[in-house]
Protein backbone atom coordinates (compact mmCIF):
# COMPACT_ATOMS: atom_id res chain seq x y z
CA UNK A 1 0.00 0.00 0.00
CA UNK A 2 1.29 3.44 -0.89
CA UNK A 3 2.46 5.76 1.86
CA UNK A 4 0.50 8.98 2.20
CA UNK A 5 2.32 12.20 1.73
CA UNK A 6 1.09 14.71 4.29
CA UNK A 7 0.81 18.14 2.72
CA UNK A 8 -0.54 20.25 5.55
CA UNK A 9 -2.80 22.13 3.15
CA UNK A 10 -6.32 22.08 4.48
CA UNK A 11 -9.04 22.05 1.87
CA UNK A 12 -10.24 25.44 3.00
CA UNK A 13 -6.90 26.91 1.94
CA UNK A 14 -6.77 25.37 -1.52
CA UNK A 15 -9.59 27.67 -2.50
CA UNK A 16 -9.75 30.61 -0.12
CA UNK A 17 -13.02 31.02 1.66
CA UNK A 18 -13.47 34.49 0.19
CA UNK A 19 -13.39 33.08 -3.36
CA UNK A 20 -15.59 30.09 -3.06
CA UNK A 21 -18.12 31.98 -1.00
CA UNK A 22 -18.83 34.08 -4.05
CA UNK A 23 -21.81 36.35 -4.09
CA UNK A 24 -24.05 33.68 -5.55
CA UNK A 25 -23.10 31.19 -2.88
CA UNK A 26 -23.62 33.83 -0.26
CA UNK A 27 -27.06 34.61 -1.63
CA UNK A 28 -27.88 30.91 -1.78
CA UNK A 29 -26.61 30.35 1.73
CA UNK A 30 -28.55 33.37 2.96
CA UNK A 31 -31.73 32.13 1.31
CA UNK A 32 -31.15 28.63 2.66
CA UNK A 33 -30.58 29.85 6.21
CA UNK A 34 -33.71 31.96 5.99
CA UNK A 35 -35.67 28.95 4.80
CA UNK A 36 -34.16 26.80 7.52
CA UNK A 37 -34.77 29.44 10.16
CA UNK A 38 -38.40 29.47 9.06
CA UNK A 39 -38.67 25.70 9.27
CA UNK A 40 -37.58 25.66 12.92
CA UNK A 41 -35.85 22.75 14.59
CA UNK A 42 -33.52 22.23 11.64
CA UNK A 43 -29.81 22.46 12.20
CA UNK A 44 -28.08 25.34 10.45
CA UNK A 45 -24.81 24.69 8.71
CA UNK A 46 -22.25 25.32 11.43
CA UNK A 47 -18.54 25.93 10.92
CA UNK A 48 -16.41 22.86 11.59
CA UNK A 49 -12.81 22.73 12.71
CA UNK A 50 -10.63 20.04 11.19
CA UNK A 51 -6.93 19.30 10.91
CA UNK A 52 -5.18 19.10 7.54
CA UNK A 53 -5.84 15.70 6.02
CA UNK A 54 -3.19 13.20 5.03
CA UNK A 55 -4.25 13.15 1.42
CA UNK A 56 -3.56 15.76 -1.22
CA UNK A 57 -5.44 16.44 -4.42
CA UNK A 58 -4.24 19.01 -6.94
CA UNK A 59 -7.53 19.52 -8.69
CA UNK A 60 -9.92 22.44 -8.84
CA UNK A 61 -12.69 22.10 -6.30
CA UNK A 62 -16.24 21.78 -7.60
CA UNK A 63 -18.08 24.96 -6.58
CA UNK A 64 -19.98 24.59 -3.34
CA UNK A 65 -23.20 25.58 -5.05
CA UNK A 66 -22.87 22.58 -7.39
CA UNK A 67 -21.90 20.19 -4.58
CA UNK A 68 -24.97 21.19 -2.59
CA UNK A 69 -27.56 21.47 -5.37
CA UNK A 70 -26.73 18.63 -7.80
CA UNK A 71 -27.35 15.48 -5.78
CA UNK A 72 -28.59 11.94 -6.02
CA UNK A 73 -30.40 11.29 -2.74
CA UNK A 74 -33.57 9.46 -3.78
CA UNK A 75 -35.02 9.70 -0.26
CA UNK A 76 -35.74 13.33 -1.20
CA UNK A 77 -36.71 12.71 -4.84
CA UNK A 78 -35.06 11.54 -8.03
CA UNK A 79 -34.30 14.86 -9.73
CA UNK A 80 -30.85 16.29 -9.12
CA UNK A 81 -32.38 19.39 -7.58
CA UNK A 82 -34.87 17.48 -5.39
CA UNK A 83 -32.51 16.81 -2.44
CA UNK A 84 -31.65 20.50 -2.02
CA UNK A 85 -35.24 21.67 -2.47
CA UNK A 86 -37.01 18.91 -0.50
CA UNK A 87 -34.72 18.34 2.48
CA UNK A 88 -35.66 21.45 4.49
CA UNK A 89 -37.78 19.48 6.95
CA UNK A 90 -35.15 16.85 7.64
CA UNK A 91 -33.80 16.96 11.20
CA UNK A 92 -30.21 15.71 11.46
CA UNK A 93 -30.15 16.27 15.20
CA UNK A 94 -30.49 14.53 17.55
CA UNK A 95 -28.83 11.54 15.87
CA UNK A 96 -27.14 8.30 16.76
CA UNK A 97 -25.47 5.49 14.89
CA UNK A 98 -25.81 1.93 16.15
CA UNK A 99 -22.74 -0.22 15.50
CA UNK A 100 -23.21 -3.94 16.20
CA UNK A 101 -23.07 -7.43 14.72
CA UNK A 102 -19.85 -9.43 14.95
CA UNK A 103 -18.12 -7.04 17.33
CA UNK A 104 -16.75 -7.32 20.83
CA UNK A 105 -18.27 -4.06 22.05
CA UNK A 106 -21.50 -3.11 20.26
CA UNK A 107 -22.28 0.52 20.82
CA UNK A 108 -24.67 3.30 19.91
CA UNK A 109 -22.68 6.44 19.09
CA UNK A 110 -24.31 9.80 19.71
CA UNK A 111 -23.64 12.50 17.14
CA UNK A 112 -21.76 14.62 19.71
CA UNK A 113 -19.37 11.75 20.24
CA UNK A 114 -18.87 11.26 16.50
CA UNK A 115 -18.15 14.97 16.03
CA UNK A 116 -15.36 14.61 18.61
CA UNK A 117 -13.54 12.03 16.51
CA UNK A 118 -10.26 13.30 14.98
CA UNK A 119 -11.76 15.29 12.10
CA UNK A 120 -9.65 15.80 8.99
CA UNK A 121 -9.96 17.72 5.75
CA UNK A 122 -10.13 15.22 2.91
CA UNK A 123 -10.51 16.48 -0.63
CA UNK A 124 -11.63 13.62 -2.85
CA UNK A 125 -12.79 13.05 -6.38
CA UNK A 126 -16.38 11.77 -6.49
CA UNK A 127 -17.41 9.77 -9.57
CA UNK A 128 -21.11 9.05 -10.06
CA UNK A 129 -22.10 5.86 -11.89
CA UNK A 130 -24.11 8.11 -14.22
CA UNK A 131 -20.95 9.54 -15.77
CA UNK A 132 -20.32 12.80 -13.93
CA UNK A 133 -17.81 13.75 -11.27
CA UNK A 134 -16.93 16.37 -8.68
CA UNK A 135 -14.02 17.30 -6.42
CA UNK A 136 -15.32 17.76 -2.88
CA UNK A 137 -13.55 19.00 0.26
CA UNK A 138 -15.01 16.66 2.87
CA UNK A 139 -14.49 16.79 6.62
CA UNK A 140 -14.51 13.44 8.33
CA UNK A 141 -12.62 10.70 10.08
CA UNK A 142 -11.45 7.25 8.99
CA UNK A 143 -14.15 4.60 9.37
CA UNK A 144 -11.40 2.39 10.79
CA UNK A 145 -11.22 4.67 13.85
CA UNK A 146 -14.88 3.94 14.61
CA UNK A 147 -14.53 0.22 13.90
CA UNK A 148 -11.54 0.01 16.28
CA UNK A 149 -13.76 1.20 19.11
CA UNK A 150 -16.24 -1.68 18.71
CA UNK A 151 -13.54 -4.33 18.31
CA UNK A 152 -14.62 -6.40 15.29
CA UNK A 153 -14.45 -10.16 15.82
CA UNK A 154 -12.23 -12.36 13.69
CA UNK A 155 -15.29 -13.78 11.95
CA UNK A 156 -16.38 -10.35 10.68
CA UNK A 157 -15.71 -10.10 6.95
CA UNK A 158 -18.09 -7.40 5.80
CA UNK A 159 -19.62 -4.14 6.99
CA UNK A 160 -23.16 -3.16 6.08
CA UNK A 161 -24.68 0.31 6.37
CA UNK A 162 -28.24 1.55 6.58
CA UNK A 163 -29.82 4.95 5.88
CA UNK A 164 -32.54 6.41 8.09
CA UNK A 165 -36.21 5.89 7.11
CA UNK A 166 -38.36 8.95 7.86
CA UNK A 167 -41.16 9.33 5.32
CA UNK A 168 -42.49 12.38 7.18
CA UNK A 169 -39.21 14.24 6.63
CA UNK A 170 -38.07 12.56 3.40
CA UNK A 171 -40.66 13.10 0.64
CA UNK A 172 -39.08 10.50 -1.64
CA UNK A 173 -39.94 7.80 0.89
CA UNK A 174 -43.69 8.29 0.55
CA UNK A 175 -46.16 8.40 -2.29
CA UNK A 176 -47.18 6.13 -5.12
CA UNK A 177 -43.93 5.85 -7.05
CA UNK A 178 -41.12 4.72 -4.78
CA UNK A 179 -37.93 4.55 -6.82
CA UNK A 180 -36.23 2.12 -4.41
CA UNK A 181 -37.14 -0.01 -1.40
CA UNK A 182 -36.19 1.58 1.93
CA UNK A 183 -34.04 1.62 3.92
CA UNK A 184 -31.21 2.25 1.50
CA UNK A 185 -28.49 -0.25 2.37
CA UNK A 186 -24.87 -0.52 1.31
CA UNK A 187 -21.88 -2.63 2.17
CA UNK A 188 -18.12 -3.00 2.00
CA UNK A 189 -15.65 -5.75 2.59
CA UNK A 190 -14.01 -5.25 6.00
CA UNK A 191 -10.62 -4.49 4.43
CA UNK A 192 -12.24 -1.87 2.19
CA UNK A 193 -14.00 -0.40 5.20
CA UNK A 194 -10.74 -0.24 7.16
CA UNK A 195 -8.80 1.31 4.29
CA UNK A 196 -7.40 4.72 5.30
CA UNK A 197 -9.13 6.42 2.35
CA UNK A 198 -12.57 5.30 3.61
CA UNK A 199 -14.06 7.99 5.80
CA UNK A 200 -17.25 8.86 7.58
CA UNK A 201 -17.87 12.48 6.57
CA UNK A 202 -19.65 14.94 8.84
CA UNK A 203 -18.98 18.08 6.83
CA UNK A 204 -17.93 19.67 3.57
CA UNK A 205 -16.50 23.04 2.60
CA UNK A 206 -15.63 23.82 6.22
CA UNK A 207 -19.17 23.32 7.55
CA UNK A 208 -21.40 20.54 8.85
CA UNK A 209 -23.04 18.43 6.13
CA UNK A 210 -26.07 19.97 4.44
CA UNK A 211 -29.13 17.69 4.57
CA UNK A 212 -28.97 17.05 0.81
CA UNK A 213 -25.43 15.70 1.12
CA UNK A 214 -26.31 13.11 3.75
CA UNK A 215 -26.48 14.93 7.09
CA UNK A 216 -25.40 14.39 9.72
CA UNK A 217 -23.02 11.56 8.83
CA UNK A 218 -22.28 9.66 5.64
CA UNK A 219 -19.78 7.28 4.13
CA UNK A 220 -17.24 8.42 1.51
CA UNK A 221 -15.41 5.72 -0.46
CA UNK A 222 -13.67 7.72 -3.18
CA UNK A 223 -12.58 4.86 -5.44
CA UNK A 224 -16.11 3.50 -5.83
CA UNK A 225 -19.11 4.90 -7.68
CA UNK A 226 -20.95 7.50 -5.65
CA UNK A 227 -23.96 5.33 -4.74
CA UNK A 228 -21.68 3.21 -2.51
CA UNK A 229 -21.13 6.28 -0.31
CA UNK A 230 -24.34 5.87 1.67
CA UNK A 231 -25.89 8.93 3.33
CA UNK A 232 -27.54 9.73 6.68
CA UNK A 233 -26.35 6.51 8.32
CA UNK A 234 -28.18 5.11 11.37
CA UNK A 235 -26.72 1.64 11.55
CA UNK A 236 -23.44 -0.11 10.85
CA UNK A 237 -23.45 -3.89 11.10
CA UNK A 238 -20.47 -6.24 10.92
CA UNK A 239 -21.25 -9.58 9.30
CA UNK A 240 -19.64 -12.69 7.84
CA UNK A 241 -21.79 -12.62 4.67
CA UNK A 242 -21.70 -10.19 1.77
CA UNK A 243 -24.35 -7.60 2.66
CA UNK A 244 -27.40 -6.71 0.61
CA UNK A 245 -26.93 -3.49 -1.33
CA UNK A 246 -29.84 -1.44 -2.63
CA UNK A 247 -28.79 -0.88 -6.25
CA UNK A 248 -27.59 -4.45 -6.67
CA UNK A 249 -30.97 -5.67 -5.40
CA UNK A 250 -32.68 -3.28 -7.77
CA UNK A 251 -30.64 -4.33 -10.84
CA UNK A 252 -27.82 -6.82 -10.24
CA UNK A 253 -26.70 -6.82 -13.87
CA UNK A 254 -26.01 -3.10 -13.78
CA UNK A 255 -24.81 -2.44 -10.24
CA UNK A 256 -22.42 -4.84 -8.57
CA UNK A 257 -21.37 -5.20 -4.95
CA UNK A 258 -17.89 -3.82 -5.63
CA UNK A 259 -18.78 -0.99 -8.03
CA UNK A 260 -15.20 0.19 -8.20
CA UNK A 261 -14.75 3.03 -10.66
CA UNK A 262 -13.46 1.33 -13.80
CA UNK A 263 -13.32 2.94 -17.26
CA UNK A 264 -12.76 -0.51 -18.80
CA UNK A 265 -16.01 -1.99 -17.49
CA UNK A 266 -19.00 -0.24 -19.05
CA UNK A 267 -22.36 0.05 -17.43
CA UNK A 268 -24.65 -2.12 -19.60
CA UNK A 269 -26.48 0.97 -20.76
CA UNK A 270 -23.69 3.53 -21.08
CA UNK A 271 -19.93 3.86 -21.31
CA UNK A 272 -17.83 4.55 -18.22
CA UNK A 273 -14.77 5.62 -20.22
CA UNK A 274 -15.29 9.34 -19.70
CA UNK A 275 -16.93 11.60 -17.17
CA UNK A 276 -18.30 15.10 -17.10
CA UNK A 277 -16.72 17.28 -14.41
CA UNK A 278 -19.63 19.17 -12.89
CA UNK A 279 -19.24 22.92 -12.56
CA UNK A 280 -16.60 23.13 -15.30
CA UNK A 281 -17.14 23.96 -18.93
CA UNK A 282 -20.47 25.36 -20.04
CA UNK A 283 -23.44 24.88 -22.30
CA UNK A 284 -21.31 24.84 -25.44
CA UNK A 285 -18.25 23.11 -24.01
CA UNK A 286 -18.99 20.34 -21.54
CA UNK A 287 -15.94 19.35 -19.50
CA UNK A 288 -15.49 15.68 -20.39
CA UNK A 289 -12.40 13.91 -19.19
CA UNK A 290 -11.20 10.32 -19.16
CA UNK A 291 -12.27 8.29 -16.13
CA UNK A 292 -9.37 6.81 -14.18
CA UNK A 293 -9.20 3.25 -12.83
CA UNK A 294 -10.28 3.27 -9.17
CA UNK A 295 -11.12 6.94 -9.76
CA UNK A 296 -7.41 7.76 -9.65
CA UNK A 297 -6.82 5.98 -6.33
CA UNK A 298 -5.26 2.86 -7.88
CA UNK A 299 -1.92 3.34 -6.11
CA UNK A 300 -3.69 3.16 -2.79
CA UNK A 301 -6.39 0.54 -3.34
CA UNK A 302 -5.54 -1.68 -6.32
CA UNK A 303 -3.78 -4.12 -3.98
CA UNK A 304 -7.13 -4.81 -2.26
CA UNK A 305 -8.25 -6.52 -5.45
CA UNK A 306 -5.05 -8.33 -6.41
CA UNK A 307 -5.85 -11.45 -8.42
CA UNK A 308 -9.54 -10.58 -8.75
CA UNK A 309 -11.29 -10.43 -12.11
CA UNK A 310 -12.62 -6.89 -12.02
CA UNK A 311 -14.90 -7.51 -15.01
CA UNK A 312 -16.65 -10.36 -13.18
CA UNK A 313 -16.58 -8.55 -9.84
CA UNK A 314 -17.93 -5.25 -11.14
Amino acid sequence: MAVYRPTHIPASEITPHSIYMSRRNFMGAAAASLALAGAGGSALAAPLQATPGAYKLDEKLTPKEAVTSYNNFYEFGTDKSDPSSNSGDFKPTPWSVKVDGLVGKPKEFGLEELMKMPLEDRTYRMRCVEGWSMVIPWIGFPLAALLDQVEPQGSAKYVSFETVVRPSEMPGQKGLFQPLPWPYVEGLRLDEARHPLTILAVGLYGETLPNQNGAPIRLVVPWKYGFKSIKSIVRILLTDKQPETTWKNSNAREYGFYSNVNPAVDHPRWSQATEQRIGEGGFFNTARRPTLPFNGYGDEVASLYAGMDLKANY
Binding site: E65, A66, S69, Y70, Y74, T78, K80, S81, E130, W132, G175, L176, F177, P179, L180, S250, D266, R269, W270, S271, A273, T274, Q276, I278, G279, G282, F283, F284, N285, T286, R288
Partner: protein
Protein backbone atom coordinates in the same frame (compact mmCIF):
# COMPACT_ATOMS: atom_id res chain seq x y z
CA UNK B 1 -73.16 17.01 -30.23
CA UNK B 2 -69.47 18.00 -30.13
CA UNK B 3 -67.88 18.63 -26.75
CA UNK B 4 -66.24 21.86 -27.85
CA UNK B 5 -67.47 24.49 -30.31
CA UNK B 6 -66.10 24.20 -33.82
CA UNK B 7 -63.37 26.61 -34.90
CA UNK B 8 -64.46 28.96 -37.74
CA UNK B 9 -63.06 27.66 -40.99
CA UNK B 10 -61.01 30.77 -41.73
CA UNK B 11 -59.04 30.18 -38.53
CA UNK B 12 -58.02 26.62 -39.41
CA UNK B 13 -54.86 27.67 -41.25
CA UNK B 14 -53.64 30.16 -38.65
CA UNK B 15 -54.42 27.71 -35.83
CA UNK B 16 -52.14 25.12 -37.44
CA UNK B 17 -49.33 27.67 -37.63
CA UNK B 18 -50.02 28.50 -34.00
CA UNK B 19 -49.45 24.82 -33.12
CA UNK B 20 -46.01 25.00 -34.76
CA UNK B 21 -45.10 28.22 -32.97
CA UNK B 22 -46.37 27.10 -29.55
CA UNK B 23 -44.87 23.64 -30.10
CA UNK B 24 -41.39 25.00 -30.64
CA UNK B 25 -41.57 27.29 -27.58
CA UNK B 26 -40.25 24.65 -25.10
CA UNK B 27 -37.16 24.12 -27.27
CA UNK B 28 -36.48 27.83 -27.72
CA UNK B 29 -37.11 28.62 -24.07
CA UNK B 30 -34.91 25.82 -22.71
CA UNK B 31 -32.17 26.72 -25.19
CA UNK B 32 -32.31 30.28 -23.92
CA UNK B 33 -32.21 29.06 -20.30
CA UNK B 34 -29.32 26.70 -21.06
CA UNK B 35 -27.26 29.33 -22.87
CA UNK B 36 -27.78 31.84 -20.07
CA UNK B 37 -27.05 29.49 -17.17
CA UNK B 38 -30.69 28.89 -16.20
CA UNK B 39 -30.76 25.12 -16.58
CA UNK B 40 -28.93 24.26 -13.40
CA UNK B 41 -25.62 22.61 -12.75
CA UNK B 42 -25.61 20.22 -15.72
CA UNK B 43 -27.36 22.27 -18.43
CA UNK B 44 -26.51 20.11 -21.45
CA UNK B 45 -27.98 16.93 -19.94
CA UNK B 46 -31.02 18.89 -18.77
CA UNK B 47 -31.55 20.39 -22.24
CA UNK B 48 -31.05 16.99 -23.89
CA UNK B 49 -33.56 15.33 -21.56
CA UNK B 50 -36.13 18.11 -21.99
CA UNK B 51 -35.96 17.77 -25.78
CA UNK B 52 -36.41 14.00 -25.48
CA UNK B 53 -39.38 14.42 -23.16
CA UNK B 54 -41.07 16.89 -25.51
CA UNK B 55 -40.47 14.52 -28.43
CA UNK B 56 -42.35 11.82 -26.48
CA UNK B 57 -45.11 14.29 -25.62
CA UNK B 58 -45.65 15.24 -29.26
CA UNK B 59 -45.76 11.54 -30.20
CA UNK B 60 -48.40 11.15 -27.48
CA UNK B 61 -50.39 14.12 -28.84
CA UNK B 62 -50.14 12.70 -32.37
CA UNK B 63 -51.46 9.32 -31.23
CA UNK B 64 -54.24 10.97 -29.24
CA UNK B 65 -55.88 12.62 -32.26
CA UNK B 66 -57.70 9.47 -33.43
CA UNK B 67 -59.14 8.38 -30.03
CA UNK B 68 -60.19 12.00 -29.37
CA UNK B 69 -62.27 11.87 -32.53
CA UNK B 70 -63.61 8.33 -31.99
CA UNK B 71 -64.49 8.67 -28.33
CA UNK B 72 -65.19 12.36 -27.77
CA UNK B 73 -66.17 13.64 -31.17
CA UNK B 74 -63.34 16.18 -31.17
CA UNK B 75 -61.90 16.39 -34.66
CA UNK B 76 -58.39 17.82 -34.48
CA UNK B 77 -57.05 15.84 -37.40
CA UNK B 78 -55.92 19.09 -39.07
CA UNK B 79 -53.25 19.44 -36.33
CA UNK B 80 -51.90 15.90 -36.59
CA UNK B 81 -49.31 16.64 -39.26
CA UNK B 82 -47.97 19.60 -37.25
CA UNK B 83 -47.81 17.48 -34.08
CA UNK B 84 -46.07 14.62 -35.87
CA UNK B 85 -43.54 16.95 -37.45
CA UNK B 86 -42.92 18.63 -34.10
CA UNK B 87 -42.19 15.19 -32.63
CA UNK B 88 -39.69 14.63 -35.45
CA UNK B 89 -38.05 18.03 -34.92
CA UNK B 90 -37.69 17.33 -31.20
CA UNK B 91 -36.19 13.87 -31.79
CA UNK B 92 -33.74 15.45 -34.24
CA UNK B 93 -32.83 18.19 -31.73
CA UNK B 94 -32.52 15.61 -28.93
CA UNK B 95 -30.08 13.61 -31.07
CA UNK B 96 -28.15 16.70 -32.20
CA UNK B 97 -27.66 17.98 -28.66
CA UNK B 98 -26.50 14.55 -27.54
CA UNK B 99 -24.01 14.32 -30.41
CA UNK B 100 -22.83 17.94 -30.57
CA UNK B 101 -23.06 19.35 -27.06
CA UNK B 102 -22.93 16.23 -24.86
CA UNK B 103 -20.42 14.03 -26.71
CA UNK B 104 -18.81 17.04 -28.44
CA UNK B 105 -18.89 15.31 -31.84
CA UNK B 106 -16.60 12.55 -30.60
CA UNK B 107 -17.50 10.34 -33.59
CA UNK B 108 -15.90 7.30 -32.00
CA UNK B 109 -18.03 7.65 -28.85
CA UNK B 110 -21.18 8.43 -30.86
CA UNK B 111 -20.87 5.36 -33.07
CA UNK B 112 -19.72 3.17 -30.18
CA UNK B 113 -22.75 4.18 -28.11
CA UNK B 114 -25.16 3.67 -31.02
CA UNK B 115 -23.85 0.15 -31.63
CA UNK B 116 -23.28 -0.96 -28.02
CA UNK B 117 -26.09 0.63 -25.99
CA UNK B 118 -29.47 -0.96 -26.72
CA UNK B 119 -31.42 2.13 -25.66
CA UNK B 120 -29.36 4.36 -27.94
CA UNK B 121 -29.67 1.83 -30.78
CA UNK B 122 -33.44 1.89 -30.32
CA UNK B 123 -33.43 5.69 -30.27
CA UNK B 124 -31.42 5.84 -33.48
CA UNK B 125 -33.70 3.36 -35.25
CA UNK B 126 -36.72 5.45 -34.23
CA UNK B 127 -35.09 8.63 -35.52
CA UNK B 128 -34.24 6.91 -38.81
CA UNK B 129 -37.79 5.58 -39.11
CA UNK B 130 -39.22 9.05 -38.53
CA UNK B 131 -37.32 10.51 -41.50
CA UNK B 132 -39.45 8.91 -44.29
CA UNK B 133 -42.60 9.89 -42.38
CA UNK B 134 -41.47 13.51 -42.16
CA UNK B 135 -40.40 13.56 -45.81
CA UNK B 136 -43.78 12.23 -46.98
CA UNK B 137 -45.85 14.45 -44.71
CA UNK B 138 -46.78 16.83 -47.56
CA UNK B 139 -50.08 16.77 -49.50
CA UNK B 140 -48.32 15.78 -52.70
CA UNK B 141 -46.95 12.58 -51.12
CA UNK B 142 -50.32 11.76 -49.58
CA UNK B 143 -52.00 12.01 -53.00
CA UNK B 144 -49.19 10.23 -54.77
CA UNK B 145 -48.77 7.32 -52.35
CA UNK B 146 -52.47 6.70 -51.66
CA UNK B 147 -53.05 3.54 -49.63
CA UNK B 148 -49.30 3.02 -49.29
CA UNK B 149 -49.06 6.35 -47.44
CA UNK B 150 -51.48 5.11 -44.77
CA UNK B 151 -49.62 1.83 -44.31
CA UNK B 152 -46.32 3.63 -44.23
CA UNK B 153 -47.43 6.09 -41.58
CA UNK B 154 -48.54 3.22 -39.34
CA UNK B 155 -44.79 3.11 -38.67
CA UNK B 156 -45.56 5.65 -35.94
CA UNK B 157 -46.83 2.77 -33.75
CA UNK B 158 -43.52 0.88 -33.55
CA UNK B 159 -41.73 4.25 -33.32
CA UNK B 160 -43.85 5.27 -30.33
CA UNK B 161 -43.19 1.89 -28.72
CA UNK B 162 -39.47 2.33 -29.38
CA UNK B 163 -39.54 5.82 -27.90
CA UNK B 164 -41.19 4.54 -24.73
CA UNK B 165 -38.67 1.68 -24.50
CA UNK B 166 -35.78 4.10 -25.07
CA UNK B 167 -37.03 6.24 -22.17
CA UNK B 168 -37.67 3.20 -19.95
CA UNK B 169 -34.11 1.94 -20.52
CA UNK B 170 -32.49 5.34 -20.11
CA UNK B 171 -33.75 6.12 -16.60
CA UNK B 172 -32.27 4.64 -13.43
CA UNK B 173 -35.64 3.98 -11.85
CA UNK B 174 -39.27 4.36 -12.87
CA UNK B 175 -40.78 7.33 -11.06
CA UNK B 176 -43.97 9.27 -11.75
CA UNK B 177 -42.60 11.13 -14.81
CA UNK B 178 -41.41 8.13 -16.81
CA UNK B 179 -44.44 6.10 -15.71
CA UNK B 180 -46.96 8.66 -16.94
CA UNK B 181 -45.30 9.11 -20.33
CA UNK B 182 -44.83 5.39 -20.91
CA UNK B 183 -48.35 4.59 -19.69
CA UNK B 184 -49.84 7.20 -22.04
CA UNK B 185 -48.07 5.66 -25.02
CA UNK B 186 -49.03 2.13 -23.94
CA UNK B 187 -52.68 3.16 -23.52
CA UNK B 188 -52.84 4.94 -26.88
CA UNK B 189 -51.26 1.97 -28.65
CA UNK B 190 -53.48 -0.52 -26.82
CA UNK B 191 -56.52 1.41 -28.05
CA UNK B 192 -55.74 0.66 -31.71
CA UNK B 193 -56.85 -3.01 -31.88
CA UNK B 194 -60.17 -2.06 -30.25
CA UNK B 195 -60.84 0.73 -32.67
CA UNK B 196 -62.52 -1.18 -35.49
CA UNK B 197 -64.90 -3.22 -33.29
CA UNK B 198 -65.72 -0.05 -31.35
CA UNK B 199 -66.54 1.96 -34.45
CA UNK B 200 -68.64 -0.93 -35.82
CA UNK B 201 -70.56 -1.10 -32.56
CA UNK B 202 -71.09 2.66 -32.59
CA UNK B 203 -72.39 2.51 -36.15
CA UNK B 204 -74.85 -0.28 -35.43
CA UNK B 205 -76.07 1.49 -32.27
CA UNK B 206 -76.61 4.63 -34.26
CA UNK B 207 -78.53 2.67 -36.87
CA UNK B 208 -80.69 1.13 -34.16
CA UNK B 209 -81.26 4.54 -32.54
CA UNK B 210 -82.27 6.02 -35.87
CA UNK B 211 -84.45 3.08 -36.74
CA UNK B 212 -86.50 3.04 -33.51
CA UNK B 213 -88.77 6.06 -34.15
CA UNK B 214 -89.85 4.52 -37.43
CA UNK B 215 -91.21 1.46 -35.58
CA UNK B 216 -93.31 3.51 -33.24
Amino acid sequence: MPLIPALPRRLHGPSIWAVYVIGLCPAVWSFYLGATGGLGINPVKEFEHLLGLWALRFIIFTLAITPLRDLFGINWIRYRRALGLLAFYYVLLHFSVWMLLDLRLDVHAVIGDILKRPYITIGMVCLAALVPLAVTSNNYSIRRLGKLWIDMHHLIYPIALGGALHYFLAVKSITAGPFLHIAAIALLLAYRPFRKPLLRWKRTRKAVDNAQPVHR
